[in-house]
């Protein structure tokens, strides 16, 4: 499944990365500890988090993640958005909590 398809099916808000929505989602990682994501997330995964700091964009780029999904209506901080645009990482958002979001992603991609 591509990021675009996931965003459409889950009605996710797209903050940036419109030109990279054709990336294939290969698994998903759920964590708000960025050190944990750095150590354990795998290339191609979607990343569900409530962290909005600019390091989120840097780590998504470093780990070559397919997209970031911010939960609970959180929006990326201005510098986060800027970094995500530079790094060409799609940042998506939902008003749902992590539990529901991860559950839906699981049903759609597994």
């Amino acid at each position: 499944m591509t990021v675009k398809e996931l965003a459409e099916k889950m009605n996710l808000k797209i903050f940036c990365g419109e030109t990279n929505l054709d990336r294939t989602i290969e698994g998903c990682y759920v964590s708000d500890l960025l050190s944990d994501v750095m150590g354990n997330a795998k290339s191609g995964m979607a990343w569900i988090t409530l962290q909005t700091h600019q390091n989120v964009a840097a780590i998504a780029s470093l780990k070559d993640l397919s997209c970031i999904i911010l939960v609970k209506g959180f929006e990326p901080e201005e510098d986060t958005l800027q970094h995500a645009v530079e790094e060409e990482i799609p940042v998506l958002g939902t008003s749902q909590q992590t539990f529901e979001t991860a559950g839906q992603v699981y049903q759609l991609i597994c």
């Binding site: 960025l34 050190s35 962290q51 700091h53 600019q54 510098d79």
Partner: protein
């Protein structure tokens, strides 16, 4: 230059996790007994016991550095220190504005009491002090610097509540004066993964919550005298001042 024994990270009984024996008077007394020359008072998201600690340091051979251990929105713990009471009070006001209204449950988390010189309780903080502020690390960093304060990410070697555990690495635009290691934190190990810290000053501190620990994991500052500005110079390794872990 004089070599001073320094422990910048100590919690009083105002912190919910601080032992009720951790009165400012007792902490100062213990620090003196253990040869500490510069002692930081750093309660969670609170500065209210700094004055009392400074009161007990008068006419005694110890310098009190007034501050707090703030919890950022990202749940990263950072130390902030201020030179004047005006700056300290302005920061306390900022903490009061940005601490969320989550009530403390003393049975679960511990009491959050402020005492006076006669050990009377003069204030009890109703909100849980270990909550994270609703401000990001960048916003808090900016506030501390506006007040001419010192900003030191705490126990960066720890797998929780450290800027590295929460944010993966220290944001490159953060304006910090040093980084702090916990008791067993290994500077070389950190530098292997975080080489951008190679020119930064590393401190070590006890993060004492109980009397036995005060002053037990110190570092050493070489300075002309003990003052806020000398401490800043040492943290910046300027004008011959420096900080050593051994």
């Amino acid at each position: 230059m004089t070599r001073y024994k320094v422990d910048l990270h100590n919690h009083t009984l105002l912190s919910p996790c601080g032992d009720l024996d951790m009165t400012p008077e007792y902490i100062v007394e213990l620090a003196l007994q253990r040869g500490v020359d510069v002692l930081g008072i750093t309660d969670h998201n609170a500065t209210r016991h700094c004055r009392l600690a400074q009161h007990y340091s008068k006419r005694r051979n110890i310098f009190i550095l007034c501050g707090a251990e703030v919890t950022t929105k990202e749940e990263a713990h950072c130390l902030a220190f201020f030179e004047t009471y005006e700056q300290l009070d302005a920061f306390q006001q900022y903490l009061d504005e940005h601490l969320p209204n989550i009530p403390n449950s003393p049975d679960l988390f511990g009491d959050q009491v402020q005492i006076d010189e006669d050990d009377n309780i003069v204030y009890e903080e109703p909100r849980l002090l270990t909550s994270c502020l609703d401000e990001s690390i960048s916003q808090i960093n900016k506030k501390v610097k506006e007040l001419n304060g010192l900003f030191i990410p705490a126990h960066i070697d720890k797998p929780k509540y450290s800027v590295i555990s929460q944010l993966g690495f220290i944001p490159f635009d953060l304006d910090y004066d040093a980084v702090e290691l916990s008791k067993f934190g290994d500077k070389e190990k950190i530098l292997k993964e975080h080489s951008y810290l190679k020119d930064k000053t590393f401190t070590r501190a006890s993060d004492a919550h109980i009397p036995d620990v005060v002053g037990t994991s110190p570092c050493y500052f070489e300075m002309e005298t003990r003052s806020f500005e000398e401490i800043r110079l040492a943290l910046h390794q300027e004008q011959g001042r420096l900080v050593s872990l051994t």
